[in-house]
């Protein structure tokens, strides 16, 4: 049963600390997305990779957030330094355009709390 795996599921950290969230996309998928779920914005796109190349990270606060794909099996989202306003659920999704449908498959999310 192929699925996107995110770790950790929950993270509580103090303001100013570095946070790293990890994602293992579904094998064979060529796109990876990082989304942040907030009450006001819904699912806000932070970063988007195709074939491991970053195509769009305009939704990400550049001074503190960074997203990378060291290899095809791992995507990371880092926040340094973290702030209380970063508290949210962060979702990773992977996708493959099949029969024209750009379907994205989501992980279960990382719930981040910055105190």
């Amino acid at each position: 049963d192929a699925r996107v795996t995110q770790t950790p599921r929950h993270k509580v950290t103090e303001m100013g600390q570095e946070v790293t969230m990890r994602c293992q996309p579904i094998l064979g998928h060529n796109t990876v997305f990082w989304y942040r779920q907030t009450m006001m914005q819904g699912l806000e796109l932070l970063a988007y990779f195709r074939n491991r190349a970053p195509l769009d990270d305009s939704g990400m606060p550049k001074d503190r957030f960074s997203a990378e794909m060291p290899d095809a099996t791992l995507a990371t989202l880092k926040i340094q330094p973290s702030e209380p306003r970063d508290s949210a659920v962060y979702f990773c999704a992977s996708g493959l355009v099949r029969t024209g449908v750009p379907e994205a498959f989501f992980g279960q999310g990382t719930r981040l709390t910055v105190v």
Partner: protein
């Protein structure tokens, strides 16, 4: 500036009746539209999609209608069931970033038994 809008944050419907969830978009380059369903503490899951060359797509109790001229789509659920209670996200993609999926803010549907 949100490219995909869902103006109703919440909707309450009686079991057995029709649920209609609405979505508007601003980017005329979008040519594929998707609906996702999300339960608490889970990731969103794909529900149904529609290409811009169609105006209707049906899958069981779920039907999506697309009005390109109005840049509007809607998801109809008939009949609504308590298990349909979830947050529904409208999403879109298109143009050069054909595989980049942009989501709306979501509508929380409650189906009352």
């Amino acid at each position: 500036d949100q490219q995909v809008k869902q103006n109703s944050p919440s909707l309450s419907v009686q079991e057995g009746r029709i649920s209609i969830l609405n979505c508007d978009y601003t980017n005329s380059m979008f040519d594929y539209f998707l609906w996702y369903k999300k339960y608490p503490a889970e990731g969103p899951t794909f529900l149904i999609s529609i290409s811009s060359i169609k105006d209707k797509n049906e899958d069981g109790r779920f039907t999506v209608f697309l009005n390109k001229s109005a840049k509007h789509l809607s998801l109809h659920i008939v009949p609504s069931q308590p298990g349909d209670s979830a947050v529904y996200f409208c999403a879109a993609s298109g143009g050069a970033s054909y595989d980049k999926v942009i989501f709306g803010p979501g509508t929380s549907l409650s189906v009352i038994p």
